[in-house]
Amino acid sequence: MKTKIALLILFISGNLFAQEQKMTAAEIASFKEDVNVVSKKIKTLSTDFVQYKHLDFLSKDIETSGKMIFKEPNLLQWQYKKPYNYSIVFKNGKILINDEGKKSAVDIGNSKIFGRINKLIVGSVSGNMFDDKEFTISYFKVKGQNLAKFVPKDATLKKYIKQIELTFDKEEATVVQVKLLESSEDYTRIVLKNKVINAKIDDSVFTN
């Protein structure tokens, strides 16, 4: 019986170790190349998403969901549909918010931190963040997927985000999950699905 348990533990922990495996230099180079080729082709992108807010003290993650639409070079709409309607548009240095019909706008023309956030969201979803000098990046292989971990170098940014983890589908080389870690216990996990690349998207979509 004891041996059985020991074997079981070994098997489980062995599995755990197998889940995340560091990439070799050659693997990193080829992975980055794959992602760059795909993300360069992206002119528009729309995807459904489910967001799980995990706080260690809660019994259940807080789940919200909606749709994200991106159009080159920097039009972005992030729209929550369930369980409430809340939509935020990044457009020409402005943030437009529609909160259950209540509209507001914030001028971010000169705000560095919002510029960064915009770049971060677009980068996260398109996957094109590898040239970013602001992060220390490490690369892993997980069963059928690739994983890149971004640790901010800047102290201000680090206060808000401890680490960003992007999970990529191996075949398509596109992002399937974004995980923003605030601390070791608390994070936001966003799962992207039903992704459509380069469908025709009118600019008028980005009004709020």
Binding site: V50, Q51, K53, L55, F57, L58, S59, K60, D61, I62, E63, T64, S65, W78, Y80, K82, P83, Y84, Y86, I88, I97, D99, K102, S104, K159, Y160, L180, E182, D186, T188
Partner: protein, 211 residues
């Protein structure tokens, strides 16, 4: 002579205004014999429930929206977190009747006056048990007075379905802020408003169920 009469009238008027505005919170209510000596609020009392609310805060013409989360973490203490819709944590408090801890707060909100105001608001919002000293009534509610240090809390409990609808936090002379609750089942409140009378601050919470 005439001048002093006018002065006298002016002073009288002034006194009258001051006296009226100093009138006790309960002036429009009828005193009544106590029918209970304590009251327990059901709305945030279950340690198994994650209390999650879409939140809108209006402060001096500015609006902030986000998600308010409260959870009872032990017999005396609640953890409170306020995040943006994206999930970024803006503040993280632990609060009980006589303790308060800031786990984290973003620098933009890290102002003593704001933290103290929210501390008072949330402490009352999450308060479980009130000891009652006096009772009043109006047409629709039984009103219970509960001492809170130098101030008082007035609990408005509907006569119709015995639900806590309102708590008024007040000094001897005037109302400071008011909590209103809308509850379908008297177990949790779907809608809560925290309205300040002396500063321009209004917090609205709307309960939502995750998908």
């Amino acid at each position: 002579m005439q001048k002093s009469t006018i002065q006298f009238l002016l002073i009288n008027c002034f006194l009258a205004i001051v006296l009226v505005s100093c009138g006790s919170v309960t002036k429009n209510y009828t005193p009544k014999k106590l029918d209970k000596t304590s009251y327990e609020v059901p709305y945030f009392s279950d340690s198994k429930t994650d209390y999650v609310y879409k939140t809108n805060i209006k402060v001096y013409g500015n609006e902030i929206s986000g998600i308010f989360i409260a959870k009872k973490i032990n017999d005396t203490t609640h953890r409170i977190v306020f995040t943006t819709e994206f999930g970024n944590k803006l503040l993280d408090f632990e609060i009980s009747d006589n303790s308060f801890k800031v786990n984290s707060i973003v620098s933009e909100l890290d102002r003593k006056i704001l933290i103290n105001t929210l501390k008072e608001d949330f402490r009352l919002l999450l308060k479980k048990k009130y000891l009652i000293q006096e009772q009043f009534e109006n047409d629709s509610d039984n009103i219970y007075k509960s001492k809170d240090g130098k101030r008082d809390n007035y609990l408005f409990i509907s006569k119709k379905d015995h639900r806590l609808e309102k708590v008024v936090h007040s000094s001897q002379t005037k109302e400071k802020f008011t909590l209103t609750f809308t509850s379908e089942n008297n177990i949790f409140a779907e809608k809560i408003q925290i309205i300040h009378q002396n500063i321009k601050l209004k917090i609205e919470l709307n309960y939502f169920k995750s998908e």
